[in-house]
């Protein structure tokens, strides 16, 4: 069996385990924690994810699909971020679990603090921080808000599992503390119906 065949088998097994967890518990915090532990265990099998099998970013960030389920199911990706790659605070509108294979990515978590009364305006405050590095991961619910930044001198390589595939993502809400604003990207959910 080739490395890619072993990887594909391991990814399929992960998704079977994930569905077993959510079928039993739903998408509770404990279920997401259990999924995170599964993803961390998979990310720890570095031999399944040799960097030679995955193109490095042309710029500083790239996602490689590992397994995208049919029927509007989950999406599992290998992500590569080079030092300095960042994402402002955002709400995916769908749950997400990350686990590191190599490198360090800082995840900060926020809560919205404004009254949601002025369209386009928002304020957030940081409530937690997690360093995602080998042996660790993070899990977030549908409307949690997080930011990311790749720290250190080496690429952050990790696994990311989303409730929906990236091509079928809901609208993402982006918060800009610097501008006191919120902006959204268009939903891709229509693709789920195609």
């Amino acid at each position: 069996m080739t490395a890619q065949e072993k990887r594909n088998r391991a990814c399929k097994k992960l998704l079977v385990d994930v569905h077993a967890i959510t079928d039993k518990e739903g998408l509770t915090p404990s279920a997401l924690h259990a999924i995170k532990l599964k993803l961390v265990a998979l990310a720890g099998k570095k031999e399944l994810f040799p960097l030679a099998d995955f193109e490095m970013p042309v710029a500083e960030g790239r996602n490689h699909p590992l397994l995208v389920e049919d029927n509007d199911g989950h999406g599992l990706y290998l992500t590569i971020g080079l030092p300095g790659k960042e994402a402002a605070p955002h709400d995916h509108g769908i749950w997400c679990v990350n686990a590191a294979i190599a490198g360090r990515e800082c995840h900060k978590f926020f809560r919205r603090t404004d009254g949601m009364t002025r369209p386009g305006h928002a304020s957030v405050e940081q409530i937690a921080e997690v360093m995602v590095e080998p042996g660790t991961g993070m899990a977030m619910s549908d409307h949690d808000i997080h930011s990311t930044e790749v720290l250190g001198d080496e690429p952050a390589v990790g696994l990311a599992l989303y409730g929906y595939a990236l091509v079928r993502f809901p609208s993402v809400a982006w918060y800009q503390p610097q501008f006191g604003s919120i902006r959204t990207t268009p939903s891709r959910r229509h693709a789920a119906m195609a």
Binding site: V58, A59, E60, G84, A87, H90, R183, T184, T185
Partner: protein, 99 residues
């Protein structure tokens, strides 16, 4: 010789010319000047602020591959949220996305 601390930035859509610091992005300068420049992530991930660089040169902060393809870059496009001026600039935003 004194170092240049800012450049002139012309936004063709609104026909406005403003100062843009060398450590500022096009988007930051525009928003601070009260210009309703389209954006969403402001960190080089979504491509909402994709703009055509009509004149001048920029340096780009880290971004995702998906936010600006190599073809777009070759065609003179840039990301306002990631681009810092290296000369006086003229830009045109290409979409009215975001919310």
């Amino acid at each position: 010789m004194a170092r240049v601390k800012s450049h002139r930035l012309t936004i063709a859509n609104t026909r406005q010319t403003i100062d843009c610091g060398t450590s500022q992005t096009i988007l930051e300068a525009a928003i601070m000047a009260g210009i309703d420049y389209p954006y969403a992530c402001a960190t080089g991930n979504c491509g909402t602020c994709t703009s055509h660089l009509d004149a001048g040169t920029v340096s780009l902060l880290p971004r995702s591959d998906a936010s600006l393809s190599q073809q777009q870059a070759k065609a003179g496009q840039t990301l306002a949220c990631r681009a810092r001026p290296r000369s006086d600039l003229t830009v045109t935003w290409l979409s009215r996305g975001g919310g």
